[in-house]
């Protein structure tokens, strides 16, 4: 607001000099000089009165304890409010936020809304899926042991209270180790019929400590993802708020309306559990795009605050939604969960079993029959995709997750813990003549130098070619175009590269995680590895405090 006044004053001063100068140059007419000065005098007086009134209003507001900046108190509208890109309409409990920035990557191979049969026998929990866990956790099972779903497999020696439990019942057949003997996978050969460990469920009013103890014992605590840093929360780290995005705008992402169908009661139960775990709110992000279907389970969810978001990807990312609902500040801890994690949590409290079953979207242009499959957390990728990858001379890349922030997997590896999607796309390891100028095939691009923006509905066959070589940062403003947050990603990246710890925090690194900057990385003309850089920065900030 103060800046606005300065600008106003400058304008007044400038115009007054202009009038005086023009009057001087026109020596003949002293009448003009007089009226000019008079006019300026009146203007200055008016500006002074308005400015005084404005300041008095703010002083008064401060006295009664109102936040001057947030409530936009004052006579003059603040410039940033006038040119802000988002509009928020608050109506009752629901808020609506329109995000103008972002970019939808439309790809061929969307999963059809049907459940295909599958026969996965091997499942694994991989310690490497959890940030910050020590590389060699204490494994409490041995090869040959039989476990039930919900039995403990291992725990982190630094936090022995939090159990990592088995998603299925069966026999432990492998404990695989990677570099420096780090444990990478605990593999279970699943039984034909699943047996669940029966838990004694505490009442929701039992208090947070008792609930936490139960969740940590049953393995459900690991469903929670704590921001910043994306870690499993510490044993007594209850969140400021809990955020759930009920729609995913990433390329080929599963449709949560389809996922939640038939499990509405569990979902609602899960929300009630979450509400008991925080002193803040449980915030639900809903799809507010025109014409978007929103399942009743989301629309009519109780005990939560609902926020509608309209816009292109990454509008469905929970990080973006947190930024607009209640941004993460230094020292804040919030939790995020996926819709299916809430269902698992709900079922645990409704029936006393840890049921890690999941619907996985099998998608991508290299999949024969893109559809959903019913399986469990940590299913083996090769078995999930058996017979479903196109067999021609082209190479395929299997990704656990979406094409922007997923992890590359071999068929012998396992679905990442939090993923509910597998994407298989073509490898692009081919030279292309003048590919940078005249590509043979249409390719996704946010750039207007391609005619893509004229065909918004077109679905692309993407491959993994980098379409160019890595360069220094040249273009500016490109990342901001696809990140609907009040953050300067390029300068944040430079701060990370320069190891400038304070600037990183100041520029909002705590609000970001890899999936939020993934789209920036996609559009980057210089092909910079932003997600990797961001994680390096997060690691630095985490280790500092």
């Amino acid at each position: 607001m103060r800046k606005y006044h300065k600008a106003l004053l400058t304008i007044v001063l400038l115009s007054s000099t202009q009038v005086i100068l023009s009057a001087q140059s026109d020596k003949g007419s002293s009448g003009f000089l007089f009226y000019g000065l008079l006019g300026v005098g009146v203007l200055v007086a008016m500006a002074a009165i308005i400015s005084l009134a404005d300041n008095l209003l703010k002083v008064e507001a401060d006295k009664v304890g109102l936040d001057v900046v947030k409530n936009d108190i004052g006579i003059l509208p603040s410039i940033s409010n006038m040119i802000a890109g988002k509009t928020t309409n608050k109506s009752g409990d629901n808020s609506f936020t329109k995000l103008s920035k972002g970019f939808d990557i439309k790809l061929v191979g969307e999963a059809a809304a049907e459940i295909a049969s599958t026969s996965v026998t091997r499942y694994a929990i991989c310690p490497t899926d959890f940030h910050g866990i020590s590389p060699i956790p204490k494994v409490v099972v041995e090869v040959g042991d039989s476990v039930k779903a919900g039995d403990v497999l291992f725990f982190d020696k630094k936090v022995p209270e939090i159990m990592y439990t088995s998603p299925v019942s069966g026999e432990v057949i492998e404990i695989n180790r990677g570099e420096k003997r780090a444990i990478t996978e605990v593999v279970i050969l699943a039984d034909k019929t699943q047996q669940f460990k029966k838990f004694d469920v505490p009442s929701l009013v039992a208090g947070k400590a008792e609930l936490a103890k139960f969740l940590q014992d049953s393995g459900a605590w690991t469903l929670f993802n704590q921001r910043p840093f994306d870690v499993v929360p510490g044993i007594n780290d209850f969140p400021r708020d809990i955020f759930i995005s009920t729609f995913d705008t990433a390329p080929l992402a599963p449709d949560n309306n389809f996922v939640v169908a038939g499990k509405e009661a569990y979902f609602q139960k899960g929300l009630e559990v979450l509400a008991a775990l925080t002193d803040g709110e449980v915030h639900l992000g809903l799809n507010g795009n025109a014409g978007a279907k929103v399942a009743d389970a989301f629309k009519n969810a109780a005990d939560v605050k609902k926020h509608y978001f309209a816009g292109k990807h990454p509008a469905g990312n929970v990080g973006i939604q947190i930024h607009h609902i209640k941004a993460i500040k230094s020292g804040d801890k919030v939790w995020t969960l996926g819709v299916q994690d809430v269902i698992t949590l709900g079922k645990l409290f409704a029936e006393g079993i840890y049921d890690a079953s999941k619907l996985i979207a099998i998608s991508g242009n290299r999949v024969v029959n893109p559809a959903y499959v019913q399986t469990y957390t940590g299913a083996q990728v090769g078995e999930l995709l058996a017979g479903n990858i196109k067999t021609d001379d082209k190479k395929s890349r299997i990704i656990s997750g979406d094409v922007l922030s997923g992890k590359q997997k071999s068929t012998a590896q396992y679905l990442s813990f939090r993923d509910d999607q597998i994407t298989v796309i073509e490898e692009g390891d081919e030279f292309e003549m003048f590919g940078w100028l005249l590509p043979l095939k249409p390719r996704p691009s946010a750039s207007r130098t391609y005619p893509n923006f004229l065909f918004p509905g077109f679905k692309f066959e993407a491959n993994t070619n980098t379409h160019g070589e890595k360069r220094a940062f040249v273009v500016s403003g490109q990342y901001e175009e696809v990140l609907p947050m009040d953050i300067y990603p390029q300068h944040l990246m430079k701060a990370i590269m320069a190891n400038d710890f304070e600037k990183m925090e100041g520029l909002g690194i705590l609000e970001l995680t890899e999936e939020d900057v993934a789209l920036c990385e996609f559009v980057c003309t210089s092909k910079s590895p932003l997600q990797k850089t961001l994680r390096e920065g997060l690691d630095i900030v985490q280790s500092q405090g």
Partner: protein
């Protein structure tokens, strides 16, 4: 792909001949997009890369190139008092334009790219694409008669001191093309300022000076034209009486807008059939190029509009002052003269040297517009300001960004 295999088979060894390998790599990646795939991070990448970006800027300059080349010839014959119509003597004007333009273009690219290749080989980097645009911009901002050795020295200075010393493309502080021009401006001022330099083909523009034709005119082109029965270059042709060669800006400095319009009509200035730097004269074609850059989002519209607003603001203040006839020239008249639009569309929008934040871009553009107009009108030595204004604000663009970022940081801390 027989061709691909052949080309790959002649790849020079990187250790034995680093320069050859760098050069090979530059041309190879120009012809073939590499087969590299994503690793870690995103799995698919946008089809946009730096080559494509730079190429689109070069595309936007093409109309200026065609017109500028022809206009060199046109101005040459205007000075002789012959072929006064724009399309009269088309072949002669085009031939003269090419004789002047091609050496400048070739020298600019051979010197600049040569330095790029050598330094890339020394650093073991791939050749970066920045010079594609710089090499296309430099000929357009030179007077047509610029001595080639001066051009070569200035480019060497700009590329070595202005860019490679800072670490190459993306690291430089000042606009390379303008740096080469400002080098000439300070080191060899007589070749790039005054009334005499904007019309080519004469040693001086004093009436009666005989045209300075070489073998290309009288030998090469005349023999072609004579075989086709077309009019020839006349080696006895001389500057017509009463011709001055003054540019609109010089005229405006002498006597305001009236003096300008007594020599040039507004439509002449708009379409660009006036003396000046090679590529800057045609306002219409520059605007088309600017629109192309804005539509493709290759250049920032924020900088362009910021600069227009700044220039209008500066002009209004000067109008109010009105101490000299030049100060009374209105803002749209300023846009018709000199290189304002060219600087706005192609020079100020260089993303490396401009501010990086969106808010900063408005401030950056407005400052250039404001300062540029002041320099143009008030500087007695040289009635044009954009080159100096842009380099000046280039220096401050990190500072502008700093304030924008500090505001963002403060806002975040405040609400914590």
């Amino acid at each position: 792909m027989g061709l691909l295999q052949f080309i790959k088979s002649i790849e020079p060894d990187k250790k034995k001949s680093p320069f050859l390998h760098t050069a090979y790599d530059a041309f190879f990646t120009f012809a073939f997009t590499p087969d590299t795939v994503t690793k870690g991070g995103v799995h698919i990448r946008d089809g946009m890369d730096l080559k494509r970006l730079m190429f689109h800027v070069v595309m936007a300059l093409q109309l200026c190139y065609i017109f500028g080349t022809y206009n060199i010839g046109h101005q040459h014959f205007i000075a002789q008092g012959e072929y006064l119509g724009f399309m009269d003597g088309f072949h002669l004007k085009l031939a003269h334009g090419l004789i002047k333009m091609l050496p400048i273009f070739i020298v600019s690219n051979v010197v600049g790219l040569g330095i790029e290749f050598i330094s890339a080989a020394r650093k073991g980097h791939a050749v970066e694409e920045g010079y594609l645009v710089t090499g296309a911009l430099i000929p357009l901002i030179m007077p047509p008669d610029i001595p080639l050795w001066i051009l070569a020295v200035s480019i060497a200075f700009a590329v070595i001191i202005g860019k490679e010393a800072f670490g190459g493309t993306g690291m430089n502080i000042w606009n390379i093309a303008l740096l080469s021009r400002v080098f000439i401006f300070f080191a060899y001022p007589t070749t790039i300022s005054g009334d005499q330099v904007w019309v080519s083909g004469f040693d001086s523009l004093a009436p009666g000076t005989v045209a300075d034709y070489g073998w290309w005119h009288t030998g090469f082109f005349n023999s072609i034209f004579s075989s086709m029965g077309l009019p020839l270059f006349d080696s006895a042709a001389s500057v017509v009486d009463g011709y001055s060669g003054a540019t609109p800006l010089t005229l405006a400095y002498q006597g305001g807008w009236e003096q300008v319009t007594s020599h040039f009509s507004e439509s002449q200035m708009l379409w660009g059939a006036i003396p000046g730097s090679i590529g800057e004269t045609s306002k219409v074609l520059i605007i088309i190029g600017a629109l192309f850059l804005i539509v493709t989002k290759v250049a920032s519209y924020r900088i362009m509009f910021g600069m227009i607003l700044g220039a209008i603001g500066g002009t209004l203040i000067l109008n109010a002052w009105g101490a000299t006839p030049f100060m009374e020239v209105t803002w749209y008249q300023h846009f018709l003269m000199g290189s304002f639009l060219f600087a706005m569309a192609f020079m100020a929008t260089d993303p490396v040297t401009a501010s990086g934040t969106n808010k900063g871009k408005w401030i950056y553009g407005a400052l250039i517009g404001f300062i540029g107009i002041i320099v143009r009108v008030i500087n007695p030595a040289y009635p044009e300001g954009w080159m100096l204004a842009i380099l000046f604000v280039n220096t401050f663009s990190p500072l502008i960004d700093h304030f924008v970022l500090e505001a963002n940081i403060k806002k975040r801390l405040k609400s914590a």
